[in-house]
Assembly symmetry: C2
Homo-oligomer: 398 residues x 2
């Protein structure tokens, strides 16, 4: 029982620090019924959750099944600093009103996944404001500049002569202090958060508390299969999107990315996934079928099976009604290609000026949707281009 729980907990993680502590906490739960706390911090700098966020949420849900009480940390204080982790520039500072609005929207969404009864939602402004000016100074005595500059992104920016504000040095300390205030037993986060997660352990020790165990999950790639899923890159699947959109977006990803999503997002066992992959490889299963299964699972997760099936039927019908031939020619192009150029290169149009006229007249569709912007540049992805009723081409933009 405990063994199975631990397997579930560790699945998909990239690194665990102090896994013995996790094992002991889970054992204690199964032997004595005692709960433990699992902290996860979310910066309310964006309102809508996407699949990338659900990687951690799914993991928290797993912990909840095995004795974990989730400390869902809304970094309303720290969001006012802006942490640049994984970014090359200081994050924009948000005003308090936006932060609180985002946090509210955020809460409405997390309970699509988390068990409400085993979740405490906590705001770090509560204890961080209470520290006061002298508390912040006292806290900042507990870490040194050289070690702070060892954090990957700080080091890179420092060496590149890019500005790092002193406030950014406070960020890791403040979010680490959250673990002190919350006396967290475990904290989970993305691999890009390692430095900050370790700060929690460092400060708990300085404050004479037991040190939290750390479990790090991978960063989910966006629909392009390359960059981190994020709203600003527009390569995301939002969990509040319409069922048909979630379904269609999953159907649009590459086969390779599909297996990655299976591994990180699916509830199917790793064995089942391996079997499916083998079947596809041996031609026993069409990759489209595998993708449909994933699209159904993820759509059902944020709605239910019925809505997922409706989404699938809709998706299939659109394709049928558009009578896309099954054997259309495939092309490749470089990222950022101009739509008119793409229409010429795929032999759908004789010239870019003709392409421009057709777009204006509404005769051009991308993935079954009419377009009107003749200046459009195509991002990475798979597209079905259509001119009029009968001319089709597949275009893979790399």
């Amino acid at each position: 029982m405990v063994e199975k729980a631990l397997d579930e907990i560790k699945r998909g993680s990239v690194e665990i620090i102090d896994s013995e502590r996790i094992e002991n906490l889970v054992k204690r739960f199964y032997n004595e019924g005692k709960n433990f706390t699992v902290k996860a911090g979310f910066d309310p700098t964006g309102a809508d959750l996407h699949l990338g966020h659900t990687v951690l949420l799914q993991k928290l849900k797993t912990f909840q099944k095995h004795g974990g009480v989730v400390q869902l940390l809304i970094g309303d204080f720290t969001a006012s600093i802006g942490d640049p982790t994984g970014k090359s520039e200081t994050r924009k500072v948000l005003d308090r009103e936006t932060i609180l609005e985002n946090a509210k929207t955020y809460q409405e969404q997390v309970f699509k996944i988390l068990d409400r009864d085993k979740t405490e939602i906590v705001y770090n402004s509560v204890w961080l404001e209470a520290l006061g000016a002298s508390g912040i100074v006292a806290l900042s005595r507990l870490f040194n500049v050289a070690r702070m500059l060892e954090r990957d992104d700080f080091e890179k920016r420092y060496k590149a002569g890019q500005s790092i504000s002193i406030s950014e040095f406070l960020y890791p300390l403040l979010q680490g202090y959250d673990s002190v205030a919350l006396k967290s037993d475990i904290e989970i986060g993305g691999t890009d958060q390692k430095f900050n997660l370790l700060m929690g352990r460092h400060l708990q020790k300085a404050y004479d508390l037991p040190q939290q165990a750390i479990l790090m999950m991978p960063i989910l790639e966006g629909l392009d299969g390359v960059q981190k899923m994020s709203k600003s890159l527009n390569n995301y699947i939002g969990i509040t999107e319409e069922p048909k959109d979630i379904y269609a977006k999953v159907m649009s990803i590459s086969d390779e990315l599909m297996w990655r999503y299976y591994e990180i997002l699916s509830d199917l066992s790793l064995d089942e996934i391996a079997k499916m992959r083998e079947d596809v490889k041996n031609g026993l299963l069409h990759p489209k079928k595998a993708k449909e299964r994933l699209a159904l699972e993820l759509t059902a997760r944020f709605y239910n099976e019925e809505f997922a099936n409706i989404a699938k039927r809709e998706f299939d019908n659109v394709f049928k009604s558009n009578k896309i031939p099954s054997d259309i020619e495939e092309f490749e192009a470089q990222k950022g290609i101009w739509i008119c150029r793409a229409l010429v290169d795929t032999k759908l149009e004789p010239s870019t000026s003709q392409a421009r006229r057709d777009i204006k007249q509404g005769a051009v569709k991308i993935n079954q949707e009419k377009i009107s912007d003749e200046k459009l540049n195509l991002e990475s992805g798979d597209y079905i281009l259509q001119v009029g009723k009968r001319k089709f081409a597949k275009l893979r933009v790399k």
Copy 2:
């Protein structure tokens, strides 16, 4: 009138930033009678003032004569951080009680020099505590890490792999914010404070205030003539010491250091000082007479002329009663020389073991005072060594 005032103000300064502003403020005072503010910060990490501190206090007094209202800043908040300026290690953090006690002692002493009616004593905990946690974070957004690391001592320590705590990065920001809170027109400080003084200008600009002018004074050497005067090096003249001790300590300094003290500490005009120096050089004035004049001036400054004269008589009598011959032989030795070795080298003792025995029996005096420590090592300075009633030697330890 204004010109003379400005000459007095600028005397002895090493660097002035925005001297035009100082000129305008002084002119305005003489034309319109409007006062201006002059900030000087003192860290209450030590209680007793010595001559080194009076360099700035004398300058403040000069400002008071020409329209300046002194903002005497007691850094009770920042003292709890410890700024390492000019030191190779993080300063020890003081508890609040000691800080306040020191500040009180400090205040009692400054009015030996400053005009009480033209002085505001201010504690920076008032506005810095009020900043709160989020205020500190907002403030720390106004400066960047790379520029902070350019501060001499930080750069050296960083490169040498010595620890710099994050709190030390807050220090310059907080003391710079003092100038914002106080809306200071001018700030004065030692040359070692340049970075911090400029921070005041930087932050005033960021807060949309007129920028303070800066006047930097030299750092006073201690009695050894080499290192900064400081209590911890025991090379200081405390302003609360007995008149006879102040007098005697001034009499103990080298001729070279005497001229330095004249320049920085005396109220004599630079012309008068130059004349005296010329006279000494040409043999018209004995250097001892010049030193007596300085000793009288400085003793009278912290007491009065009467006390100074008594101190002089006492000093002269001690020398007379000890019947020190006027033509005793002079020797030189290296700093740190062992007293027994010195007694042998100056031909007062035949051997170090004899010297040791004589010290134990109370037969050895240094500067007219019996010594008992046979392990003593001599610091830099001029000494009169004496064994028994009749054997004398002068020793200059370099």
